[in-house]
Amino acid sequence: MGRITLDKVQKKFGEAEVIPPLDLTIEDGEFVVFVGPSGCGKSTLLRLIAGLEDVTNGEIRIDGNPATNLPPAKRGLAMVFQSYALYPHMSVRKNIAFPMKMAGMDQAEQDRRITKAAEALNLTDYLDRRPGQLSGGQRQRVAIGRAIVREPAAFLFDEPLSNLDAALRVGMRMEISELHAKLQTTMVYVTHDQVEAMTMADKIVVLRAGHIEQVGSPLELYHSPRNTFVASFIGSPKMNLLTGDIARSHDATTIGIRPEHLDVVERDGTFVGRVGVSEHLGSDTFFHVHIPQMEEPMTVRAGGEVGLRHGDTIHLHPQADKIHRFDAQGLRVA
């Protein structure tokens, strides 16, 4: 079981309020991702749940039981740190065994769980090595192994993939997702990378300056962002946000159109501009289009074989039902 409830949880460092009172429920078995730009308080929130920081006000409950004042070890949670935080002087085996040793588990059960975790994580051949002799990906697996063997109520991940190179990151992303599918244990995952959030989460929590901007499934956030911040944060490349006359014509202060919702047309486009930088990915091409009335270039997704060059004139037409409208406060207009 692993249902985590935050009830008006607030965190201050001295006078600075990092997390204003905040409510959040994480259901059992859910994969929840906290996402937001750096300094948005997502790591602090995770550390509050872990018990590594004291809550200033409010209450944290795990499976209905108050956990606000429990020390980290008593909360039944396991954490994977950004730096992995492996014990450098212990072998992989001892690293993984450490939480069980602390819990006073008997040796046979320890060995059984280590073997099982090592098999699941492809670490069997490395059990007697030290962390220093492992690659980044292997260290990451050891850190996960150390978390798994405790059979925790929930896993907490603090930007676990940020120290890996791009290729490894994709692989580990899948491994963690598979692990979640297999264990069905609650996972709380912190990242600043919206791609990680979109690909892994059941539920995404978008944070800015300690505030929750929106909670929802990846597609909910993609299709109906509650405000301009979420709109521009979720989705890659970023949503084009337009103001001025064009927005007024849609009865809004700001309108948002995703690059993939702009069609390149032969003539009579809503927008006419000049092609700037184009990024050819093979399957797709992203054009940065300079439109005379606008300060920022618009990003457009087109097919891989569109034969436009730098400086060419381009006509664009938005898909009418995919236009997001926002009011003067930046909030979504239904």
């Binding site: 872990a50 590594l52 020390p71 980290p72 070890a73 949670l77 396991a78 954490m79 740190f81 950004q82 730096s83 935080a85 492996l86 014990y87 450098p88 002087h89 212990m90 450490f98 939480p99 602390m102 819990a103 150390r146 405790r150």
Partner: protein, 276 residues
């Protein structure tokens, strides 16, 4: 440098460096050679290099002098004693400053360092008076305490820089893994801090062993360590070069070997982390 270098150039640098290295090392080398000569060979004109009748008689002679073993014992007791006592006081302090830094931690560290810069002559007579008052002149305990105090800032400082390198996340991981403070210290902190503590001990034994102000001034015979013992050769009679050499080699050999092992820590310990 990831660049191919011609063998010719490499040989040139090698010859030059070895030449200068041997020149700098020469006085120690010469002392070593002389310690195996007879007194007559030691001052022969012209000097002889390697081809003489090697003898151990000087070592035997020095060891027979009643005060050599005493001086050696004193050196060991004073160097080890002051270092270990210092470690005992410094470990908790450095620990607290590294892991629970407060607003004034930096000031405390710098203040400790400033006490290291107090010139010995500024406190010379009061110390003599205090020692006389407690009747501990020429005693090992006096030197253990004084050398501990003059090296304590370096010990605290070195330990602090080592402890600070232990990442906080590891301690948090241990806490998440269910370790209480005791287990955190036994299983995680201590094993990670041990190499740092060991090099701190090593460097401070060297510093204490070679200290030659207080050891000379505050001892006469009973607590006189090797520094003082060697100084007694400054007003010699008759032929004594070979014996001086033998005594010198015995006084510096252990520390020379320890020193070679602690080169890296030396930079860190003596520059207070200002050069890395």
């Amino acid at each position: 440098m990831a660049r191919a270098i011609t063998t010719q150039k490499k040989i040139m640098w090698t010859v030059l460096s070895w030449g200068i290295g041997l020149l700098i090392f020469f006085p120690i080398m010469w002392t070593f050679l002389t310690s195996f000569k007879t007194e007559a060979t030691a001052i022969s004109d012209p000097p002889v290099w390697f081809f003489f009748d090697w003898t151990l008689e000087n070592y035997a002679a020095v060891l027979e002098r009643s005060n050599y073993p005493l001086a050696l014992t004193n050196s060991i007791v004073i160097a080890l004693g002051s270092t270990l006592l210092g470690i005992l006081i410094a470990v908790p302090a450095a620990w607290a400053m590294a892991f629970v830094p407060g607003k004034r931690t930096k000031d405390v560290l710098l203040w400790m360092l400033s006490t290291k810069m107090l010139p010995a002559v500024g406190v010379l007579y009061p110390l003599v008076l205090i020692a006389k008052y407690f009747d501990i002149m020429d005693s090992r305990i006096l030197l253990v305490m004084i050398l501990m105090l003059i090296n304590l800032p370096i010990i605290v400082w070195m330990l602090y820089t080592y402890f600070r390198e232990i990442p906080g996340e590891i301690l948090e991981a241990a806490r998440m893994d269910g370790a209480n403070l005791k287990n955190e210290i036994i299983y995680v902190l201590t094993p990670m801090a041990l190499p740092g503590i060991a090099s701190t001990i090593l460097l401070n034994i060297i510093l204490a062993w070679n200290e030659a102000f207080w050891t000379i001034i505050l001892t006469t015979v009973n607590a006189a360590p090797l520094t003082k013992f060697i100084a007694s050769f400054s007003a010699p009679e008759g032929l004594f070069y070979a014996k001086l050499s033998a005594a010198s080699i015995m006084a510096i050999a252990p520390i020379l070997i320890m020193g070679w092992f602690s080169q890296k820590q030396l930079v860190r310990g003596l520059t207070f982390g200002a050069v890395k």
